[in-house]
Amino acid sequence: MDFPILSVIVFTPLIAGVLLLMVPGERKDEIRVGALGAAGFALLLSLWVYFGYDKGAGGYQFVEQYQWLPALGISYYAGVDGMNAPLVLLTGIVMFTGVLISWNIDDRPREFFAFLFILATGVFGVFVALDMFMLFFFYEIAVFPMYLLIAIWGWKQTREYAAMKLTLFLFIGSVISLVGALAMYFTSGESTFDMLKIAEAAQAGAFDIQYSFNILGRTFTPTFQEFWFPLVFLGFAVLGGIFPFHNWSPDGHVAAPTAVSMFHAGVLMKLGAFAALRVGMMLLPEGAQAWMPALIFFALVNVVYGAFIAMVQTDFKYVIGYSSVSHMGLVMLGLASLSRNGFIGAGVQMFSHGVMTALFFAAVGMVYDRAHTRDIPRLGGMALKMPIVAVAFIIGGLVSMGMPGFSGFVAEFPIFMGVWTMASSPINVHWPFAGWVAPLIAIVGAISIVVTAAYIIRIVRRVFFGPMPAEFEGHITETTALDKVALVILAAILVLLGVFPSLMVPLVETGVDSVMLLFGGA
């Protein structure tokens, strides 16, 4: 048997977390070093998976399957393809840099890292899951530690409110998806949670059932797929921050401690988008085709509305929080366009935005730790004292504006290309509008880039340049070496991917090809 690398990745954080809990709480430095070691190990393994994936062969690789509850067709079934390999790597990166950034947490660091690592196990588990039950199992594991992390270590003013709001939103979403997943389990007739088999059954017509409802004298006859798709998709997309269920997200980002914000915006929101793709779109493709106009609308609102809201915020962290909503909208837009380019863009955007937003939140955290305020008008001149933070933030800003040469361009350009041509996409069989509507949507979506540029440039000018207010003189210090390492790693990845798109795009393409097959397009 091959080395079970995916299982090792999934369970490394969990085991490390449990071991950390056994170390006496006062030995904080040992705890930190141990956490960093575990995170580094997970990062190395995820790099191995990412670069070891054979693009020529495609399909699912590093597959592991063990029986879990055979009576009901539940198995532990893990594998990576072109869609989730980048996300596994992303989680490894964010986890490693998150530990670096959290070095200075002094209140119960043992529990902090343990909860953070349990969260990481949940995230890894969802990304590699090929079994629907396993996906839910790890999904809930990923959601819950957020509550404690935000409620205990968060920003005192809003943490209880934000933590509860976040938990309830995400639980509601996930249980609604759960009912849909159960309906798929029973309807597929396969008695298995194996998503590959369910997808096959769906292709073979197991889901071609017509419901008939009589509501207020009108008869509705949705098919199985049309009925369940919005529930399953939206249930997960809540975690992806889709409009109108996005507003837990900025509150959560702001209340969370820095490393948790990085995890939350960088990785957790991808979890929602990814699960919506994996369970919603890949298992119910006809449902996705039928609901595509509505998805486009919601995603478009996300993109444009999120950007405008970000522009009017005065709290540094809220700006980044809403920018996450806006950028996750681009992921949704790419998925909803049901076109090859859109899917590719969405896949790359998930990675690119994950790294970018982790960078943003890390920078915000460093500024806040020193200035003790996030009020943009009160800040200024930070570049003088923290040049590396300023440079890193500017790189992140260029990425978020989609500047060529940075990873954001590699991601956003295909998305807009996909949206522009979506009316003629071979798998988009229910396009209800005239042909010119698609380019119009692309143009409206692209406006957000202008708005993004506006708020990013505003922040850069107000926070990092200009004169430093007198109150900060003296006690703004340079960042620590570990902080710099984290920022440099994150920024380097963004530039590297922008300059060499071939590091990721061909990989994502192999994943997209199998998604396209499920939609009946080659």
Partner: protein, 480 residues
């Protein structure tokens, strides 16, 4: 035949042993009766599992009064386990732990539960229910110096007597319609009798009153909060798990054996729709009222009502998956709720209050106890990798399979309400500060042992499902 009654016989021996030793031991040794009861439970479980397991085919003994099948066996194990853990939690309560009669009542009540699970005849069933209930009335009112405990005992007695008599009336009607009191010939007798349809369903509903009282289903739940609050906390834990489980054992056996659906499968359709409505109302009411509670025992009381609703969902589905999921849920719930009430009992002993506000700073006073509370409450809320998660998934699945998608949606939305109030308690435990943080909470040895077993069990069931699912499935298969 001996083997079929092995657990009951051994329990009787245990009761006798406790009685005799209570007389001979001096008062200061009487605490050891708790070890005896708990150790006895362990021995009985081991011996029964080794020697008394039912075979493929069920056996009926005593002229069809008692049935030895997996359904009975699994529920007997649940009751005995509950008894053992409850004894451990009671040992260091000054008002319970050194009283021999307390342990005797506990054991006798457990005998009643074991017989409830095994009854295959209306008469035996009634006797078993009374054998269970009467000791429980006394246990609920055990602390004579505490008005609330006395009130709890009395209230429990009044409600119990009332619903028992209604149920007995239902039994007599059924006997009249069918000409037999044997549960397994009742269906046939009812079908061949001259009266079918409405009268039969009406008498079935009368019977449901009694069962509904035992499992705490709306509208027979009014006793629950007061009795749970007033009873000594270990007794409350026992009431909310073992007693509820025994009630469900009876419920599924009677409904599926005596009132099958038109094809001899599942359950009568009109009964099923009544129960579906009850399940929905029970969950919603239990969870909604739990939101407003400031006393942790009342909160758990309403949560226990809500959980009865979830379990009822599996029963309503009345498929093999449905019954299996209900049994599995009860196993998970047994461990979880015993742990929750165990923590409440310990905290109540030390803090002297059951108000949620009194739990402030608990995580700094005893991190271990808080961790158990965290595990138990998250399991109640249905968070993986704990037992409650998988249990909930399968009752929802059973509802979806039985085309009760609306009920599944009611269930999942209720689960969210549950998450909210369980988190509120955890928030107090982990976030709120108090000025007593420097006073540690002492957890005694038996309590530590019990909490350890329960926490380990919750994690084990939550991660490795297959063996427990196998037992639950065997129990359900006995009905199909």
């Amino acid at each position: 035949m001996i083997l079929a009654l092995l657990p009951e016989i051994l329990l009787l021996v245990l009761a006798g042993l406790v009685l005799v030793l209570d007389m001979f031991w001096k008062d200061d040794r009487d605490r050891n009766l708790g070890w005896l009861t708990a150790g006895g439970a362990l021995v009985i479980l081991l011996v029964s599992w080794l020697a008394g397991r039912p075979g493929e085919e069920p056996i009926q003994i005593w002229g069809g009064m008692v049935r030895h099948d997996w359904l009975a066996f699994v529920f007997k194990s649940i009751a005995i386990f509950g008894m053992g853990v409850t004894a451990l939690f009671s040992m260091d309560r000054p008002d319970l732990g050194k009283k021999g009669e307390y342990y005797i009542l506990l054991v006798i009540s457990t005998i009643g539960m074991a017989l409830m699970a095994a009854s295959a005849d209306l008469i035996m069933l009634f006797l078993a229910i009374e054998t269970t209930s009467i000791p429980l009335y006394v246990l609920a009112g055990f602390i004579k110096t505490d008005d609330r405990s006395t009130e709890a005992g009395f209230k429990y007695l009044l409600f119990g007597a009332m619903t028992s008599s209604v149920m007995l009336y239902g039994f007599s009607l059924l006997y009249g319609f069918a000409g037999t009191s044997d549960l397994y010939r009742l269906a046939q007798g009812l079908a061949s009798g001259s009266l079918t349809g409405m009268p039969v369903i009406a008498s079935a509903l009368l019977v449901l009153v009694g069962f509904g009282f035992k499992v705490a289903v709306v509208p027979f739940h009014f006793w629950v909060p007061d009795v749970y609050e007033g009873s000594p906390t270990p007794v409350t834990g026992f009431l909310s798990t073992a007693s509820k489980a025994a009630g469900f054992a009876v419920l599924v056996r009677v409904l599926l054996a005596a009132f099958p659906g038109s094809f001899g499968e599942g359950m009568d359709a009109s009964l099923a729709s009544v129960l579906a409505a009850l399940a929905a109302v029970t969950m919603t009411l239990g969870n909604t009222i739990a939101l407003a509670q400031s006393n942790i025992k009342r909160l758990l009381a309403y949560s226990s009502i809500a959980h009865a609703g979830y379990i009822l969902m599996g029963v309503v589905a009345a498929t093999e998956l449905g019954i299996t999921s209900a049994v599995f849920y009860l196993i998970a719930y047994l461990l979880t709720n015993l742990a929750a009430f165990g923590v409440v009992a310990i905290a109540g002993r030390v803090v002297g209050s059951d108000e949620i506000a009194a739990y402030a700073g608990m995580s700094r006073r005893s991190s271990g106890l808080s961790l158990v509370l965290l595990v138990a409450f998250l399991s109640l809320a249905g968070v993986p990798p704990l037992a409650g998660f998988i249990a909930k998934i399968w009752v929802f699945a059973a509802a979806v399979e039985a085309d009760l998608v609306w009920l599944a949606f009611v269930g999942v939305l209720n689960a969210i309400i549950g998450v909210y109030y369980y988190l509120i308690v955890l928030k107090v435990v982990y976030l709120h500060r108090s000025d007593k943080e420097d006073q540690p909470v002492m957890v005694t040895r038996p309590e530590r042992l019990a909490l350890g077993i329960l926490t380990f069990g919750i994690l084990l069931i939550g991660t490795i499902f297959a063996p427990w699912w196998g037992f639950a499935d065997a129990a359900a298969a006995a009905l199909f």
